[in-house]
Structures are given as structure tokens and as C-alpha cells.
């Protein structure tokens, strides 16, 4: 059985067996989720006892000596955030190597080949709306994939332990922009991490944006993705990160009625409105995606006015002539 099929049947059976499958996930507070989580008790007893906090305790089974140690930060999973993520119902060993069952963990377990998003979500009609296949295709064209020969994976930006789509969170667009940009700056703002994935080291992010007027305002109000991806209409959040020299650099690409950004924002706002409020309330009666003056082209409206004016002037002249000849016509009749 190939991996995709296996993942599908596995996920399907998990959903069937799990009591969580019977409840809508969005409505449960974190504590309840913990109770519902498949193997939650085992999680607590096993992995998260050590990996759920920065400090863990180990006991020497021979001497009985107990001591406290610091857990490496990248191996800590914050249970509070994990149980609020979309993957909250999974047991650690559903995704991680069986070898991690034993302690101390054997070295070969650390070389586990991790799952990627498509292993579970690919070609599955249940997830069709999220377009994972298109996201994957965009990712494979992105500089993240081509420059790292595929070593860079989904997890490097979207931590599976904490994944919670921003679009589903009830936060302001400024917050969402901040969180999205934080995702990029986690690496592009950290020389150590960049040093790990690139021999060139880190080009400082801020100086590279100094050509922008009001650089800080731009960085607060615009997502990195808005300039550094190739936008398409089919995927909600663009994934095709382009090389730095292909990024948007013309002011008019955004600040213009004919801009890609304007089109993308209109499409996004309109679709979000429709998905959230339905066609009648979201599109017909409360369509916030229209912007005053957005469709106001001076040339077209001026030409329209002139032609309408000429039509009315012609009609007026015709009326005047009709009034002049009316008595003559009557006389002839």
C-alpha cells in the first residue's frame, strides 16, 4: 500500500474511532480537547512529560539519582498551543518513529523520515477545498524548494504541532500580517538559522527594504508574501516564493487601480464575505469588498459624460427644430 493510501485509511480510521470525530472541533475549549484527544493520557504520561516543558527530570534506574535538565528549545512542544492546533487529536507516535517509544531515544529514531502535508492531505476529496496539490505545485516552483533541493519542507514555516490557519482566527488583519511576517522573519531575521540553510549567511532584511518610502509602515501593513510571491487566483495564500531580485519593486504594481494587489484584495474580500455570510448577506446586501471610487477611471467616465451630453444636446436640438416646424406641419395638414 502506498504512503498516501495508507495515510488516508489511517486518518479515516482515526476519525472514526476518535470520540473527537463526533464533535465539531472548533467549539471545544483546550481543556476539553485534551480529554477527547486520542491517547491523551498516554501523551501526558509519555512524550509530553519531558517534551511539554523546558525543564525535564530524569532518574538513573541503577543509582536512583534524579536530576533536572534543560530540554533543547526546538524539542519542546507547548501543550496549550498544541491542543488548540488542527492536529490536536493525534498521538505523537502517529507521526513520529516508533523508536521514540523507548528511552533514551535510539539514534536511528532521529533519522525518521517525517511525513509531509500531502502524505495525509493529498488527493483527498475531504481536503479538496484547501487545494493541497496546488499548494505543493507552487511550493515546488518556489525558491525555497529549488534553492535547497527539497530540503526545505512545509514544516519549516508551518509547524504541524501548532498549525492553526490564520484565516480561521478571529484577529485583525494587522495581527494576521504580523503573524505571517513573523513566520518569514523566524529564519530571514535570524543569522544562525540562515547560516544553517545557506552558506551565504544572512542578508540583513531591513537594509534591503530601505528603498521603500515609509519602510516601517510598509512592513507593518504588507505581508512579505505580497511582494515576494507569484500570486495566483486559485490558492488563497500564495506559496511560490520568488527570488529576491524578482520581487515587486514598482510602486504602481500596488498603488494603482489596475494593480494586482487591488484585484487580489477584491477577490479575497469578496470570497471571504461570501463564505462567511453566504451569497445573499455576503454578496448582495453587505458586500464590503466594493471600495468607493475603485472603478472610477477618469478617462472612461469623462468620455461617458461627453457622449451622454452630446446625445442630450442632439435631442434638445431636434426638439427645438420640431417645435419650430410644428406650426408649419399643422398648416400643411
Amino acid at each position: 500500500m502506498d504512503l498516501n493510501k495508507f495515510s488516508f485509511y489511517f486518518l479515516f480510521s482515526v476519525l472514526l474511532i476518535s470520540p473527537a470525530g463526533a464533535f465539531p472541533l472548533q467549539e471545544k475549549p483546550g481543556e476539553e480537547k485534551k480529554q477527547l484527544s486520542l491517547y491523551a493520557a498516554d501523551n501526558e504520561k509519555n512524550c509530553l512529560i519531558c517534551h511539554g516543558k523546558l525543564v525535564y527530570t530524569i532518574t538513573d534506574t541503577v543509582s536512583g539519582v534524579t536530576m533536572k535538565r534543560m530540554m533543547s528549545e526546538q524539542n519542546v512542544i507547548n501543550p496549550e498551543i498544541f491542543y488548540k492546533s488542527v492536529h490536536w487529536s493525534f498521538n505523537c507516535l502517529d507521526c513520529h518513529a516508533e523508536g521514540f517509544k523507548s528511552f533514551p531515544h535510539p539514534l536511528e529514531a532521529r533519522f525518521e523520515s517525517g511525513w509531509n502535508c500531502l502524505d495525509c492531505h493529498g488527493n483527498d476529496p475531504n481536503y479538496a477545498q484547501y487545494k493541497f496539490e496546488e499548494i505543493d505545485a507552487e511550493y515546488r516552483r518556489s525558491i525555497h524548494y529549488t534553492a535547497t533541493e527539497g530540503l526545505f519542507t512545509c514544516w519549516d514555516c508551518h509547524d504541524a504541532h501548532y498549525y492553526n490557519p490564520l484565516a480561521r482566527q478571529d484577529s485583525s488583519s494587522r495581527d494576521q500580517i504580523f503573524k505571517l511576517n513573523e513566520m518569514c522573519l523566524r529564519c530571514h531575521g535570524n543569522p544562525d538559522i540562515m547560516g544553517m540553510i545557506s552558506d551565504k549567511g544572512l542578508d540583513k532584511v531591513l537594509p534591503k527594504h530601505e528603498w521603500l518610502p515609509n519602510v516601517e509602515r510598509h512592513l507593518q501593513a504588507v505581508r512579505c508574501l505580497d511582494c515576494h510571491t507569484r500570486m495566483t487566483d486559485s490558492v488563497l495564500v500564495a506559496q511560490e516564493i520568488v527570488p529576491a531580485d524578482s520581487a515587486v519593486k514598482n510602486c504602481t504594481d500596488c498603488h494603482n487601480k489596475n494593480s494586482i494587489l487591488m484585484g487580489t484584495l477584491y477577490k479575497y474580500a469578496s470570497k471571504e464575505n461570501r463564505d462567511e455570510k453566504g451569497f445573499v448577506n455576503g454578496v448582495i446586501f453587505n458586500n464590503d469588498s466594493y471600495v468607493i471610487g475603485a472603478n472610477h477611471s477618469k478617462f472612461i467616465t469623462l468620455t461617458g459624460k461627453i457622449i451622454i451630453g452630446m446625445t442630450l444636446a442632439f435631442a434638445l436640438m431636434h426638439i427645438i427644430f420640431r417645435m419650430i416646424i410644428r406650426p408649419i406641419k399643422r398648416y400643411n395638414e
Binding site: I260, G263, I284, Y290, I292, I300, G304, I308, K329
Partner: protein, 206 residues
């Protein structure tokens, strides 16, 4: 002596009045959406204009569909069939009559009779509006309610921007048509006779 012809059956008159009301709503709200700003709502405030425009557009699509079916399945459709042979000559004659012959007291070259309720110029403009401009207005209008189907870019332009501008241009054409339509309607047997005929159904020849 003028003759009367029953050219406007009940369904045509009902459709016409509905079409007229909806077009008026669309034009007024369309102008409001185009020219209003936060301080000046024109006739209708921006937000309300958007809602009324959307509702009217959807209702107009429905009424247009009924009109299409009516033309397909009743004899009314024959008035919208263009005969291409000699069309140029007929259009010229009718245009000449409106601009010159009318004032010279000449007889209308293509008067209303049992077979014809439109003269050649009316026929071409009605066919153009009903079978070309309105369908394109519907397509562009609906596309803006489902913008994900709009091309991202066409040539060097944003698809949304082009769709939007095309919708506005078509809207202007409908406004121009409406003015001409209303004015030409005053050129019947008497200034009000054509308005009476769209109410009673009976058209007077002149």
C-alpha cells in the same frame, strides 16, 4: 387615416415595465457607486447603492431570461431578426428621415404595420442592446459577484479592473440607449402615442 396594430401582448408590457424600473434603479445606483464619496452619497448612499444595484441586477437577469424565452416561443421574436440584405440602405433612409425628412414633412420610410413594429434603426439598436450589451452587462456584473472566475491578468491589465471598466462602459451605452429610446418614442403619431401603446398594447401607425 391611421391604423392600430396589437404589437405589445401582456407579457411584453409586463416585462417592459419591469425592465424599465430595474434599469432606472441600476442607472441611479450605478452612478452613485461611480461618483459618490464618503461625504457625498449622491441620490443613494454608497452602501445602499451597492445592495440595490446587486438586487436589481439579479432581478434584471431573471426578467431578461423570461424575455429570451418569450422571444423564442412567441411571434415577438421575429421583430428581433435582422435581415442583412439591404440593411445599410434601410438604416440610411431611416436616419435621413429622422435628421431631415421628418422636418420636411416626408412620410416615414418604414411605418409601423402588422408585420413591423420597429423601424430599421430601432430594430438594430434593440437587437444590439438586448442580444449584445445586456448579456455582456450580466456576465461582467455576475463576474464581479464571483470574482474568482475573473482572469488575473489580461494583456497588461488586472482582470478585475478590465471587467469593472467594461461593465461601466456598457452601463454608459445603456444610459445613452435609454435617452435615445425615450426621445424617439416621442416621435410617434403624437408625442404620447407610443407611450400609450406600451400601456394598452395597441400601436398607432403614422
Amino acid at each position: 387615416m391611421s391604423k392600430n396594430f396589437y404589437h405589445y401582448p401582456v407579457w411584453v408590457r409586463l416585462w417592459h415595465v419591469m425592465n424599465a424600473i430595474l434599469c432606472l434603479f441600476l442607472i441611479v445606483t450605478g452612478f452613485s457607486m461611480l461618483y459618490s464619496n464618503p461625504d457625498n452619497g449622491l441620490v443613494v448612499g454608497f452602501k445602499r447603492a451597492v445592495s440595490i444595484h446587486n438586487v436589481s441586477g439579479i432581478l434584471l437577469t431573471v426578467s431578461y431570461t423570461l424575455f429570451l424565452f418569450g422571444n423564442l416561443f412567441t411571434s415577438n421574436g421575429r421583430h428581433y431578426l435582422l435581415a442583412m440584405k439591404g440593411a445599410g440602405k434601410r438604416l440610411w433612409q431611416q436616419g435621413y428621415y429622422y435628421v431631415y425628412g421628418y422636418f420636411k414633412g416626408q412620410k416615414a420610410p418604414y411605418p409601423v404595420d402588422g408585420e413591423h413594429k420597429f423601424n430599421p434603426l430601432q430594430q438594430v439598436s434593440y437587437v444590439g442592446v438586448m442580444y449584445l450589451i445586456l448579456p455582456m452587462l450580466f456576465v461582467t456584473g455576475w463576474a464581479m459577484m464571483f470574482p474568482e472566475f475573473i482572469l488575473k491578468k489580461f494583456l497588461r491589465f488586472s482582470g478585475i479592473f478590465l471587467t469593472d471598466q467594461f461593465h461601466v462602459i456598457l452601463g454608459f451605452l445603456v444610459v445613452i440607449f435609454l435617452f435615445i429610446h425615450l426621445y424617439v418614442s416621442t416621435m410617434g403619431k403624437s408625442p404620447l402615442s407610443n407611450f400609450r401603446s406600451i400601456i394598452t398594447g395597441w400601436q398607432e401607425s403614422h
